[in-house]
């Protein structure tokens, strides 16, 4: 199956796979109606999908450098788009995004604009040129364009910092989902998640990760869209994306009549609300007034967009296409596949909010008596694991909007239950969340270990190493990095989304301008690049420590808080890079010719096939 005709047979293979997965869902539905317990169905969903990924990982094993680092540069455009979409959509996108919109409303949706708009930058400024370059890793480009080991080393530093912040959150998410579905403790769940991730990537590197990511995309998008459409039809909107205008306005009415009350921190503490649980205090669709609110929205969107264009695990996906042309097209397909999930998330948030708030619906809980709400089975289940909480602040025995606390993840994970969909859908959602977190974690762990094995070990420490040795080093690093990330996430240091936004800020602080100017500005010099990378990284990190709520917690300048520190880092990076470049000698004729060649979309890659 994986010989000669594999690439030509891809549509058939993944068509069969999708059909098989749908049959599996039906089979689970039949088992459920035959009386198999919800817990066993959850276990089967997660275990079956993870085993399939492991099988794909095993079948894609390789002993070639080219296949290990860039999947042999033969991944077709559309499939690379799917793999990138899975690589991109993390546990946070899948599990936490709808919850974020549920609580944050319009303000939170800056993330949606940022996480899609960034692909315009990837496509216009970077992906086609990096593909033409023919590099294996992002620091490989920096190291060759600017010359010398120092820029390469600095870029590696940023890559490791950004990707590592991101990967702990992903392994944390795999742990949460595995522990819930398989009913094991969280700490054990993290290690189960890690083993699943390594099974997908260790034997085949980028090649294995590519083909498992395509499989994971199919699972995650199915798992996200089925509940949205099902719930939509239940409420009389078979295609919710275009039919929820009235519902959004209804929410505004309900908010107005219920009143968006802000609880005081002292009240929340006195009531004993468990950490991480939130209540609705932001309007769903209204735009908050004032220039500061606008700036907060725009600055978050800018950080996410520029960060997207600097994240190495995304950029490296475009190294795997056969040509520059297909790299460019592949970015468009990636965004299309991402869009399918992202434009559904607000609809999911709207539907689940309405179900809890609208007194005309049988599922409503706001405005009912608290004793009645506490007897609802799903409220009991999620209260038991401290994911929802009721605090009767005014003591009237009726549940008000500000008295209902919930963890954001519950919006995706519990909505099927709330809407009264069969349990098979909850099992499907768990499998989808697992696929989303695993695929991103795979891409990140591979980005770090490829970079350390190629840029640090092979290019700097031991340039004479043979292929066998290089691939052994790459695999050992993969395991070590995965284990380190799993160890850190088993200690539960930070909430999923805080850490995810930081990864974008780190990446944009250190990498955006050195990458973009490397292609678009011939005058950019080695010294300038080093100044840009280090200046951005150091100033950004210093600012994070200055404002970070868990660090020095100072008042942010101009509303630039710890989620937006990349604004500071990237600005410093740009200024430092331009000033130092202009102060130093212009790059040699050979380097300028190299930049010229990068700009021509056809012809040979700058770096050879084996380098």
């Amino acid at each position: 199956m994986f010989k000669g005709g594999f690439i030509q047979n891809l549509p058939k293979i993944y068509g069969l796979y999708t059909g098989g997965f749908l049959v599996f869902i039906l089979l689970m539905a039949v088992l459920e109606s035959a009386g198999v317990s919800a817990a066993s169905i959850g276990i089967m969903f997660v275990a079956f999908t993870v085993l399939i990924y492991a099988l794909i990982g095993y079948l894609s094993r390789t002993i070639q450098v080219d296949a290990y680092y860039v999947a042999g540069r033969q991944v077709p455009t559309v499939f690379n788009g799917m793999a990138t979409a899975a690589d991109w959509m993390s546990g946070a996108s899948f599990v936490a995004m709808a919850g974020g919109i549920y609580f944050g409303g319009y303000t939170y949706m800056a993330f949606l604009v940022g996480w899609t708009g960034g692909y315009v930058l990837v496509s216009t400024l970077l992906a086609p040129y990096l593909r033409k370059f023919g590099c294996y890793t992002v620091p490989d480009f920096i190291g060759t364009r600017y010359g010398g080991n120092l820029p390469r080393f600095c870029a590696t530093l940023v890559l490791v910092l950004a990707s590592f912040t991101y990967v702990t959150a992903q392994i944390n998410a795999t742990g949460t989902i595995a522990s819930r579905a398989l009913q094991i403790p969280f700490e054990l769940g993290v290690w189960v998640g890690l083993v699943s991730i390594l099974m997908c990537s260790m034997l085949g590197g980028m090649r294995a990760v590519t083909w498992t990511q395509v499989a994971q995309y199919i699972v995650l998008i199915t798992a996200y869209l089925i509940p949205v459409f099902w719930m939509g039809s239940k409420l009389g909107n078979p295609f919710p994306h275009f039919m929820l205008g009235d519902e959004v306005q209804r929410l505004a009415e309900l908010e107005a009549s219920a009143g968006l009350v802000k609880n005081s921190a002292a009240d929340i503490k006195a009531a004993g609300v468990p950490g991480g649980l939130k209540y609705i205090s932001n309007p769903h669709s209204a735009v908050p007034a004032g220039g500061m609110a606008v700036w907060k929205y725009l600055s978050l969107a800018i950080c996410m967009m520029v960060g997207t264009a600097s994240l190495p695990h995304i950029l490296m996906r475009y190294f795997t296409t056969p040509s520059v042309k297909s790299a460019r097209k592949s970015v468009a397909w990636s965004l299309f596949f991402i869009f399918l999930l992202y434009f559904s998330a607000p609809m999911l948030a709207t539907l689940s909010k309405l179900q809890l708030m609208d007194p005309n619906l049988p599922t409503a809980i706001i405005g009912k008596s608290i004793s009645e709400v506490q007897s609802i089975p799903w409220v009991q289940n999620w209260s038991a694991v401290k994911q929802v909480f009721i605090a009767d602040f005014n003591g009237d025995g009726i549940l008000q909007l500000n008295e209902w606390f919930m963890r954001g993840d519950v919006v995706v994970l519990a909505t099927p239950e709330v809407a009264g969909l069969p349990y098979v859908i909850s099992g499907l959602v768990a499998a989808g969340g697992m696929a989303a977190a695993m695929s991103t974690a795979d891409g990140l762990v591979l980005a770090i270990s490829n970079c350390l094995s190629h840029d640090i070990y092979y290019k700097i420490i031991d340039p004479k190493a043979d292929v066998r040795k290089r691939l052994i080093v790459a695999r050992v690093l993969l395991v070590v990095i995965g284990a380190a990330a799993a160890y850190i996430s088993s200690m539960r240091l930070t909430s999923i989304l805080g850490a995810v936004a930081w990864a974008f800020d780190f990446a944009m602080s250190g990498l955006f301008f050195p990458l973009v100017l490397g292609v678009w500005w011939k005058r950019a010099t080695k010294e300038g690049a080093v100044a840009g990378i280090l200046g951005g990284l150091i100033s950004g990190t210093a600012y994070l420590i200055y404002v970070g709520p868990k660090f020095m917690a100072n008042t942010p300048w101009l509303g630039i808080d710890h989620l937006r520190f990349g604004i500071i880092g990237a600005s410093v990076s740009l200024v430092a890079m331009v000033v130092v470049s202009l102060m130093t000698k212009e790059p040699s004729a050979a380097v300028q010719k190299m930049v010229d060649d990068v700009r021509v979309p056809s012809g040979r890659a700058i770096l050879g096939k084996q380098h």
């Binding site: 540069r73 319009y106 949606l112 315009v120 959004v248 606008v294 299309f336 979309p601």
Partner: protein, 86 residues
């Protein structure tokens, strides 16, 4: 002007036009979020709609358009080779 230079000039202009459209959908609309939200589309308040779907869809269409037009520019200058032999 050599073929290479005119190709690069057209590529640069195309990049700037694309980024101008991107800037409109990602920044300009939301700069005026409050007044944009007075309008409505399919019954949704407009700024909410753009943030939830509209701008996202605009980006998808924009990147496909960008890629197709860039391919045309490449073909015109004889750089449209399908595969490279690296």
């Amino acid at each position: 002007m050599s073929n290479k230079d005119s190709h690069w000039m057209k590529t640069k202009n195309h990049m700037m036009v694309t980024l101008a459209i991107w800037f409109f959908f990602s920044i300009v609309i939301f700069m005026f979020g409050e007044s944009v939200n007075q309008g409505s589309f399919l019954g949704y308040p407009l700024a909410y709609y753009m943030s939830a779907q509209g701008s996202l869809a605009a980006f998808v269409i924009l990147i496909f358009w960008f890629a197709n037009k860039q391919e045309k520019i490449d073909d015109e200058h004889g750089y449209g080779g399908e595969r490279e032999d690296d």
